[in-house]
Symmetry: C2
């Protein structure tokens, strides 16, 4: 069975985000006044597996080992079985 | 009135994505077999404005001028009025 996976990676609260700060400053220089700018990364892929729990455990391992830095990042994993209309975490 | 804005930026179909390719290769080296890896960026911020249409036009300008490269990126703007339970594009 094929599962579509989405990993949403964000900085933990309180971490400095220079990218967001730069965007906010640049928009301000262009005359746009925006606040609370944040940036997130999303990684999507598909993989084959038996069931949702096995997949979740594997993707969690991937996040811990490679995709995220657990010290500074929060991550949220969404798993949707292919050919399914709706999926939850 | 304050609006919460989300801009989702992805590479257009057919564009090479070296970041995604690197992630896929690295996961493969770790023993995880994944396919169709893609990466997306999300920028969120809030801004004050009169109505949704004015905000949409301003955010579209920001995307064209600074946030995206319209030659290689697709972008999707989501605008949600603060204190509203649901928002659409």
């Amino acid at each position: 069975m094929i599962f579509d996976i989405e990993v949403k990676i964000s900085l933990k609260d309180g971490m400095l985000n220079p990218e967001a700060k730069t965007i906010e400053n640049s928009l301000s220089l262009l005359g746009y006044n925006v606040n609370n700018t944040k940036t997130l990364n999303i990684i999507t892929f598909d993989m084959e597996g038996e069931d949702r729990e096995t997949i979740r455990s594997e993707v969690d391992d991937m996040c811990q080992k490679l995709l995220c830095n657990p010290v500074i990042h929060n991550y949220k994993i969404t798993i949707i079985p292919r050919n399914s209309a709706c999926g939850d975490c």
